[in-house]
Amino acid sequence: MKLNRIGIVLIASALGVIVLVVGLLIVRQQDSRAAEVRAKGVALTRSLSNVPVKLIDGSGPGLSMLNTLFAYQDNGDLAYAAILDANGRTLGDVAGRGTFVPAAPLPADAATTFGQRTLPARDGARGLIEFYGPLADRSQGQAFVRVGFHQPGYAVLARDVSFLALLALMMFLLVPLVYVVIKREMAPLDELGRQLRQLGDADIVRQDSAHDVRELVGNMQAYLRFASSRIAQLEHGSLNATADNHVLQYGSKKLTAALQSLPDGLLMLAPGGLVTFASDKVEPLLGIAVDDILEQPVDAWCRDPALRTLLGRYANGQRDTLHAHSVDFTPANVEGKYLSATVQPLAAAHGAMAFGTLVVLRDVTREQLARQAGNDFVAHVSHELKSPLNVIGMYAETLADADAGDETLRVESLNVIQDEIERMNALVGNLLNVSKLETGSMSPERNRVRLDDLLRDAYDHALPRAEGKQLRVSLDLPRELEAVAIDKDLFRIALNNLLTNAIKYNRPGGSVTLAARNEDHEIVISVRDTGIGIAAADRERVFDKFYRVSEAGAKVARGGHGLGLYLAAQIVELHHGRIVLDSEPGTGSTFSIHLKIAPAATGVVTL
């Protein structure tokens, strides 16, 4: 079995390691002992070389120094010590038990230097290391000292055996531990291997093959599940981190998209005043490219003193940072725009976290123009009302001061006063109608009618005013007019306003024609005059509210109030019709109202 082989290999390699370790330890110990012996030998030889011969050789009183040396040696390494004269004669010696001084002649250099040599072992005894050198005391001629040590033997290792055994045991005990761990990790593989072998055997034992394959597949799947679950566990953590990152990115992008799609321009300033965010809307509002704003201090891009001052105060923390402040200004780089900038601190957690400043730029051009138009309207109407009042006042005074007999002046005054009152009345009436139209409170009551009578009424109404100005008025109607769906009262206002203009801007001896005709799907009502005409430049704007044609060079009666044509056009539009102006300056103008013919139905009302 594979596992058993692994066990054997483990044991063998463990033993090998133990042998190697023990061997290395022994070699190391040998080396250290040899070094020890060498040091001892050199030291002893040099010590003895300085001692007087008498003290060494035993010829002096008491124990000789050599004997003392042996009496106190701490181990059995020291084999012998001897003093020799120049002829190799022993002056004194001492030797350990079982040893004697070998009869080896000293080398030639012994007289001048200290040295060492190895003496071979003899019949069972250990080898010797000998140290030699000259004696300093030459009282008896040249003398030499020889000190011999036993070579350190393996026998001296006996005391280390227990330590080495313990070490080997500990190392050997690691084997089963490693074996168990390997077996644990190999178990699924081993199982797989077993199954594979069974599959191999199944060639012989066929009746079980299907079952075996199923089991094998099952086990493989189990193993794969196990492996993939381990992988999944690892990947799960990394996936979570990635997912969190994606969610954050998604949220951030969503927020940015929302900020970009706001109708107002947004700027975010860091606490230091650098712009950290600028939405695309800022560009058309301020007329400065976003790239020129980002990461720039306010002074670098802001051309508008009002905004710059306000932002500067926020950057310097001068303002109460809890409140927003607004400023209205006209951007320096964009013409005809009015902006409102609201600056407020960006903070969270009740001001504990400050992100800087948020600037919201809003286009208030429309509001500003509406306000302007409102002011203009009031000024205009006041002026329009004041002029007739002025005239009425003056004539009233004249009337009061006039001589009783001045009948002409009296009549004139009364006529003027009456005219002016009528003019004011028309103005106020039209103002009310315009107001109703614009607030939507005027809802046309459209009835299917024939226009003949309405046109005749309008004609009759215009006749006296025209004759007062020596104008000819004519009415041109076909025999039968198709029916249209209109609000009579409203339409009368539109017609009267057109006729009033045709009379007012005419010249003495001129004419006004009110006509109507059937066309394909329309009825066309036209008011034609032979008046001063309208210049091309004015034609486009003549239907604008309060627009009045410049009257330079033309001496005409007092101008209108700029509401008549506007009102007429609005009324026609309310009836889904259109009004067309055809004019030739100096020759006259024709205003045509095109109305759709109402579909034929029963119960046509003829008015």
Binding site: K386, V391, Y395, G553
Partner: protein, 124 residues
């Protein structure tokens, strides 16, 4: 003593008609001009003792006429009365810089105008 001569400039016929009546009744000689050009033509004939002018007029308006009348006749110290309404406050600054020039508020009362002129000629 010759009649005092008033030049009245306004393009509003009702106004000139009434004021002319009132001034003639008070004994002044009156000429009416309908715009600045006409007024300068009249001044070339005879320099008035008082020039009364509206501001808004077709043709040459009062704002052009008055300084021109002053500079054309530097030796004549005639009074200029400018007729203006409260709504045209910003119109007044240019007139302040002209010598011997005053405003007449609209709506204008013929009586007040006559009284104003009488006072002027009494002190002159």
């Amino acid at each position: 003593m010759t009649q005092r001569y008033i030049l009245l400039v306004d393009d509003e016929p009702h106004v000139t008609r009434v004021l002319r009546l009132a001034l003639e009744k008070a004994g002044y000689a009156v000429t009416v001009a309908h715009d600045g050009h006409e007024a300068l033509a009249c001044m070339a004939q005879r320099v008035p003792d008082v020039l009364i002018s509206d501001i808004q007029m077709d043709g040459m308006d009062g704002r052009t006429l008055c300084p021109l009348a002053r500079s054309t006749y530097p030796d004549h110290d005639f009074l200029i009365l400018v007729m203006t309404s409260m709504t045209a406050l910003e119109e007044r600054n240019w007139a302040r810089e002209l010598r011997n020039t005053e405003f007449l508020e609209k709506p204008l009362s013929p009586r007040q105008l006559v009284a104003r002129l009488a006072k002027h000629f009494a002190t002159a």
